[in-house]
Amino acid sequence: MTGPLIIFLVLAALAVLGAVSLILQRHPIHSALSLIVVMVALAGLYLLMGAEFVAAVQIIVYGGAIMVLFVFVIMLLNAGVEERTNFSKLATYAGVPLAVAIAGLIAAAILKSSANLSTAGPNGALTSTKNLSMLLLREFVYPFELTSFLVLVAILGAIVLAQREN
């Protein structure tokens, strides 16, 4: 067991526990806090891989902005404990096995196709933040500019949706 492997296992366990907790918690605010645990663990994994800029964006945008939005909405709507309702028979008996099957299918396909990929670790200059910004503002400059339109449309949509009709 090397150092990075131990860190990976701890962070991976944290992420999976947070995801399971997201599903099992019945109050939305507890689910939101579990999701924040998952996101922070994933940011740690990005740091472990050497993707420091993505890790910072993950913390700031996902863990900060998006989750604050979720918590605001939960508190604004005064969301209470989730009601229990009867599942359909199909969901009760076939739901979990099918979900496990699809995760297994994805995992099997991944393992089969990535057999020749050896290790993921800090590659230094190859994917540094400088390199990333070069890619983003040269090769991907048109998609980058298009995202500004996307965000503008999202802002307009949120304003139109949230205003009260008179």
Partner: protein, 100 residues
């Protein structure tokens, strides 16, 4: 060094848990959070491949995914507020008609 496969396996597990949450949760906000979990799982796979191949493209895609997720969260939560205001419930089983 951690093998890339470990990251990809973790990504598949998180995506599966996201699907389970999406199917089994009844609260519309919790369903939305399960979607965010699936997006995060895909991001992990992108970064793992990007690092394994030594190219930055995957990380650029992750940045785009995060921007799209932010836009999706604003519009989606706006719609959730509207439905909750009109139906007085966050349970998706109560939202089964397009028109009130």
């Amino acid at each position: 060094m951690v093998p890339t496969n470990y990251y990809l396996l973790l990504s598949a597990i998180l995506f599966g848990l996201g699907i389970v949450g999406f199917v089994f949760k009844r609260n519309i906000i919790a369903i939305f959070m399960a979607i965010e979990l699936m997006l995060n799982a895909v991001n992990l796979a992108f970064v793992a491949f990007s690092q394994a191949l030594g190219k930055g493209d995957g990380e650029v895609f992750v940045l785009f995914v995060i921007v799209v997720a932010a836009a999706e969260a604003t519009v989606g939560l706006g719609i959730i507020i509207l439905t909750a205001r009109n139906r007085r419930s966050l349970n998706v089983e109560r939202v089964d008609l397009l028109k009130l």
